[in-house]
């Protein structure tokens, strides 16, 4: 059984088909890259998977259970967490409090929530910033905070929406390292990324969408050599 199954999902915003009949699966333990030009419908797909938008048609199954129709907090509780492309830090809370708030989902008490949060901050390299009010964080660290917060909910599947965008070279390398460590912990990842070198190097498989449709799926090698993809995307 696949960890996640997207089954013929379509989403319309008025006249705009943001997703059209998309189907693919994610297997436990893999990193799946989701790529496509700007406005292709990648974020929309995340919003459907994690319950922010109901699909117009189709279904999403997580661990064999239909989750379309559930609320985001219920889906999170089942073990599916996400980050936001436009970061949403809890602005007037410290970095640590941001992560404690999410760690409460699996913690029995506050001491345990703090412990999970501290461990997560160390894991993501934010431990030195734990007392910073998150409004004052530079972008690179906000992106990391998004990841830390999602991780602290104890997910089995993590959806990362452009976690690398706007990072400088050293931040980029750190984040790639973090993603690899997350995978090593047995957490499955679906990642949206425009940075081709990165996505090709970390993904086990890649799904390409364009104008709301899936145009290709395969290993990085197959995607690189797919004429449709080259035309729609890589050729630019």
């Amino acid at each position: 059984m696949s960890l996640l199954e997207i089954r013929n999902v379509s989403k319309r915003f008025g006249g705009l088909a943001a997703s059209s009949d998309i189907s693919f699966t994610i297997q436990k333990g893999e990193i799946l890259g989701l790529i496509g030009p700007n406005g292709a419908g990648k974020t929309t797909l995340f919003n459907i998977v994690d319950g922010f938008y109901p699909p117009t048609k189709g279904q999403v199954l997580f661990k064999g259970q239909v989750i379309s129709g559930l609320k985001p907090h219920q889906i999170c509780k089942l073990g599916l967490a996400r980050t936001f492309q436009v970061v949403k830090p809890l602005q007037r809370m410290s970095v640590l409090d941001n992560v404690i708030a999410s760690a409460f989902l699996r913690a029995k008490n506050k001491a345990e929530a703090v412990e999970i949060a501290m461990e997560t901050l160390r894991f993501t390299g934010l431990d030195e910033d734990q007392d910073v009010i998150s409004r004052g964080l530079p972008l690179g660290k906000r992106k990391k905070l998004e990841i830390a917060r999602a991780l602290a909910t104890g997910p089995e599947l993590l959806l990362l929406d452009e976690s690398f965008a706007g990072l400088n070279h050293s931040e980029l390398n750190e984040s790639i390292e973090i993603i690899k460590n997350i995978k090593a912990r047995g957490i499955t990842i679906m990642i949206i990324e425009h940075h081709m070198k990165v996505i090709m190097s970390i993904s086990d498989r890649i799904v390409v969408i364009n104008y709301g449709q899936k145009i290709a799926e395969g290993t990085p090698q197959e995607i690189r050599n797919n004429p449709l993809v080259v035309e729609a995307y890589l050729g630019e």
Partner: protein, 316 residues
Amino acid sequence: MKKYLPLIVLILLAVMPLAGLAGLLSSYILHMIILVIMWSVVGMAWNLLAGYCGQVSFGHAAFFGVGAYTAGILHSHLNLSPWWGIPASIVVVGLFSLLLGLIVLRLRGPFFALATLAMGEVMRISSENLDWLTGGNLGITLQRTWVDKTNYYYIILAIAVAAFLVVKYLMRSKIGYYFVAIREDQDAAESLGINTTLYKTIALCISGALTGVAGAFYTNYMGYIEPSVVFALHDISIVAIMTVMVGGVATFFGPFVGAIIMVLLAEVVRSIPYLGAAHLTFFGILLILIIIFLPNGIVGDFQKIKRIFGAGGAGK
């Protein structure tokens, strides 16, 4: 020192009526202090919902009034002591808040605020017209239990201390983290597994019930209630907001400081002759000044205030 400040204040408050016995404290001053403490309770309640959980209400008079009428009606219809209104209002206003929440908590931001504003007015007009239940515009009059104010003082002080401890305890626990997370970003909170609807409802119910208790106390203390007083938009809903804004939104002591200032201001303004309804102008001006100069209120911007006065003191 700072750690013991609340304790010292509490001890002072506890022994204060002894000064009254010694004739140092007039009944009028004790009355002012009782009002300050009562408004602190309303302020703490509003602060919990709006300051911490981010759901700004313009209709807390609805809760205050339902609490006040719970006490009044228990007396006028069931011949019970209106003091039963205090425990009863926790249940009645709690349930009322729950119902209200089902309607208004679907709305966000300004839409929520407008819906609560409407709710306050709906309750006022309903209570004016439900003569059989509320006595309509004639209101409800009851015999006060004591002539002396000391007992009322201790009762409202106990309520305030309980409210303070409840708020403090909640804000340290998971619920508090969830409230603030919802205030900061509802979508982010939802994605972190927080049932935002549930926790907003909890905030509304606790806030409503606390305000209702203050209302029930008011009935007992004043011995008379009428719709235009206990469901008042300006004198209850707006004053609740101002108490917290002036004192400091999302601070533990803001509601106390704000209550002192609001009660004093109302008294001063009332003593100016021929002012009538124009006293609201003063509230408006104060609010504008606060928003411009102390957006975090007196407690929230205390460091800033100290700096300004410190600089002045240095003769610059």
